[in-house]
């Protein structure tokens, strides 16, 4: 695009012809204050805060909607501009309650900051203020109309960002206010984006309100533990309690996007049923509380006695890479067993194998936003993978991406899709085939596919993609925060770290069905959920978990584990992007799984070397293919770096059959669902896919 010369406050700058003045100024270090303007959202021009003086224009112009042109001369700090800002703020405050001392937003409020910086300090209005009582719209969203400055940010983020459209504006003039989708309440994604984006304290969070002041919290940037998308969430921690989650600093792959789980469902950490002491089954067969030393001694003795090929180990989709790596190493060496698996929710193994010899074909979150075309196959993306769905919508909005959906039922992508097809999960590939001619002209494509595409179907889908003659990237969708990491780290019965073949053992289903297991060690998983039983009646069962799950009820020893928000380490998201998680809080009595493994090893008289997250990660980086070339500066500073392709055949006998997604919706998160108060309180729970 052609460059034009613009003068802002006497400084000549060059800018793309037609770029918005407010953006051009920002790029050149000049702030034009605004409330309604929001990068990435449609233009509103409602607040009048960004008025600037433009030479030869008859009056002040709104910088947020003014495209720059050759020779434009702009003044952003001249007297008329300064006066206009003061007047605008005077108007905005004319009905504002100025209840900053009790307002949640106080201290991080844009209206407060702007008034401080640009305001006049006094008002000519003496009229009584129009008071309206505060309204609760949902367990998480409260609306206080008098504080509202009607910038429409919430309306736009809900329409455009979320694709939900649950907020509107009713009435007019001084009576104008934001209204929710269902008369007096909201039925929506409950994502809370509207609360975050609100420049004032008009929309407040049901979880956070009146709990603390922003400056009294510690802010811990970590990764959400719920789905596999790997959103960065910044936990606001006060007195060892998480009081909020958001990502206002836009760090991480998700920018400021978070769904209901990332923003609110950290509350399971503080659930009263959280285990805080080990449990040992006594002579009467009842689990009773015991000290850590007694429990560890018992487990170490039993493990030592029962180690061997009849030992079973089930790993987790939420524990860190370090924990998964150490677990499989400990199982394969110290415990001498090949029976190790986890709940698999996507056929990454076959995808890796199908792409052997090729590089750069595993899509990243960023590429879902930048690709010219996106094909969504057999998944309800906005329910199961909210960040990826958000990126698809943003790609459509910002880049007019061609979106295609092939799903068994209606999905939110239908609305923006160039074409959408309904196909039963078994018929997805045939339906995708019918899009061949269109997709071949797409430029470049990212294909996201769900769990029903497994085994041979993954190969068919890859063969289809590779025959299009355009660059194609793939994302194999999986369930939880570290589902991908569990596979990469070799928590699989026949594949070690980096998908290297190892001596085959029993998979998860076979372990549950075997009648002669000597012991079963379950780390952060709940394989007996839904009434399943363990066929080996005499097996010694050890469970590490946060809660007394169905599996814990069958255990001989239960060890209370720390959650993802209580430890350091790394996790790998659905796109293979590795990110660091950071300890925010501590629950008395629990220990991180990594520490537990280390203590058990010590109890057995085995040395694993130093057991801490950094040391184990160094070992992973040194030995696991895919992780060996990760750019450490990026990861250490809180960024995301994609693992490198394994790039060789995966000699997997790991045939599908025990691959199935838990099919969580926006409002469920596996076994953790029942321990999150907020997910159980919202009206929309449990939600449904394809509806």
């Amino acid at each position: 695009m052609a460059l034009v010369n613009v003068t802002i406050n006497g400084v000549s700058v060059q800018a793309e012809n037609g770029a918005l003045l407010i953006e051009v100024a920002k790029q050149n270090g000049i702030e034009i204050p605004a409330f309604c303007y929001y990068e990435g959202m449609s233009l509103q021009a409602a607040c009048r805060m960004c008025l600037v003086e433009v030479e030869k224009a008859p009056k002040l112009m709104a910088g947020c909607t003014l495209p720059v042109a050759e020779g434009m001369v702009v003044r952003t700090e001249s007297e008329p501009v300064v006066k206009a800002r003061k007047t605008t703020l005077e108007f905005l405050l004319s009905n504002h309650p100025l209840d900053c001392p009790v307002c949640d937003k106080g201290g991080e409020c844009e209206l407060q900051d702007m008034t401080f910086k640009y305001g006049v300090g006094e008002s000519r209005f003496t009229e009584a203020k129009q008071h309206v009582p505060e309204k609760q719209w949902s367990p998480v969203v409260f609306y206080d109309a008098p504080r509202c400055i009607l910038c429409y940010r919430c309306v736009r983020v809900c329409n455009e960002g979320m694709g939900v459209g649950a907020l509107g504006v009713s009435n007019r003039g001084v009576y104008s206010e934001i209204i929710p989708s269902h008369g007096d309440h909201l039925e929506c994604d409950e994502c809370g984006s509207c609360i975050d984006i609100c420049p004032v304290g008009s929309l407040t969070s049901g979880i956070y309100r009146y709990k603390t002041r922003p400056w009294e919290m510690e802010h811990v940037g970590t990764v959400c533990t719920h789905c596999s998308n790997g959103c960065k969430t910044t936990l606001g921690v006060r007195n060892n309690e998480i009081v909020r989650g958001n990502n206002r600093d836009r760090s991480g792959i998700n920018g400021e996007f978070l769904c209901v789980k990332g923003r609110y469902a950290f509350d399971f950490n503080h659930h009263p049923e959280r285990l805080q002491t080990p449990l040992i089954r006594n002579a009467e067969g009842v689990l009773e509380e015991a000290s850590w030393s007694r429990a560890l001694k018992l487990v170490a003795e039993k493990f030592k006695a029962l180690a061997g090929p009849k030992f079973g180990v089930i790993g987790s989709t939420r524990t860190t890479n370090e924990e998964n790596y150490l677990l499989q190493k400990f199982a394969r060496t110290t415990l001498g067993t090949a029976n190790i698996d986890h709940h698999r929710s996507g056929d990454v193994v076959t995808l890796v194998d199908s792409l052997s010899g090729k590089t750069g074909q595993l899509g990243t979150v960023e590429e879902v936003y930048t690709a010219k075309a996106v094909l969504v196959v057999a998944t309800d993306l906005s329910q199961q993978h909210p960040l990826l769905a958000n990126k698809v919508r943003a790609n459509f909005r910002h880049h007019k991406a061609a979106v295609y959906a092939v799903t068994p039922g209606p999905v939110r992508e239908d609305k923006i899709a160039r074409k959408f097809l309904r196909a039963a999960e078994g018929d997805s590939i045939a339906a995708v085939e019918s899009l061949r001619d269109e997709l071949a002209k797409a430029g470049d494509l990212v294909i996201l596919f769900g769990d029903s595409i497994q085994g041979e179907k993954v190969r068919q889908l890859v063969a289809f993609g590779e025959s299009l003659g355009i660059p194609v990237k793939y994302v194999c969708l999986v369930d939880y925060a570290n589902s991908r990491g569990a596979m990469d780290m070799g928590v699989l019965p026949d594949l070690g770290p980096g998908y290297h073949a190892t001596a085959p053992g029993l998979n998860l289903q076979q372990m549950l069905e075997a009648t002669d297991l000597s012991a079963l060690w379950v780390v952060g998983a709940n394989p007996l959920k839904g009434g399943k039983t363990l066929a080996s009646k005499d097996a010694f069962v050890v469970v590490q978990d946060l809660f007394r799950t169905e599996t814990a009820e069958r255990a001989d020893v239960v060890l209370p584990a720390g959650s993802a928000y209580e430890k350091n380490g790394t996790v790998t998201n659905v796109c293979g992007q590795v990110q660091r998680i950071k300890k925010g809080i501590e629950t008395v009595g629990s220990k991180a799984d990594l520490a537990i493994i280390g203590l058990l090893a010590r109890g057995m008289g085995v040395s694993l070397g130093a057991v801490d997250a950094d040391t184990i990660f160094a070992e992973i980086a040194a030995t696991v293919p895919g992780y060996s070339q990760l750019p450490m500066p990026i990861i250490l500073t809180g960024g995301a770096a994609q693992t490198h392709p394994v790039n060789g055949r995966v000699p997997a006998s790991t045939v599908p059959g025990n691959i199935s997604s838990a099919r969580d919706t926006l409002f469920t998160t596996g076994s953790l669902t029942r321990y999150s108060k907020i997910l159980n309180e919202v009206l929309e729970k449990p939600g449904a896919l394809y509806s």
């Binding site: 459209g165 509107g168 007019r172 929710p180 989708s181």
Partner: protein
Amino acid sequence: MTFSPELEAKFADLVTHYPEGRQRAALIPMLMFGQDEIGSVTQEMMEELGRRLGLSTMQVDEVVGYYSMLHKKPMGKFHVQVCTNVACMLRGGAELYDHACHKLGLGHKQVSADGRISLEEVECMGACSWAPAIQVNYDFHHEVSTDQLDTILEGLQK
């Protein structure tokens, strides 16, 4: 919900007045005619019209909230609207409105117990040349004095 065949025919004609893809523009007249027939803009009507024009109920609600001539609660059989905007105010509109309030014992957007008469203070009706103006349903009354207002209101009581 359904409307009378005459109104359905009117609706069918209305949507043809707008360019393809802009049918939502028919919402405001549809709401007005619907209100005339049903008596007020009901939740059911908002849902139905939204469905027909591809709008969410909330989008319809936004429009209903914005336009003061659309009412979610039924107004009286005779809806008396008194303008107190600038031109009318200068010519005694405010006094006229006060007079109506006292005479009817009603305030802004209130309906008489028998449901016969309702009162509303409105902004400009575009009748500034004949200020002060009042409007009863769709009938205008120009340069209204308090005496004339009494006569008009008494006529509505019968």
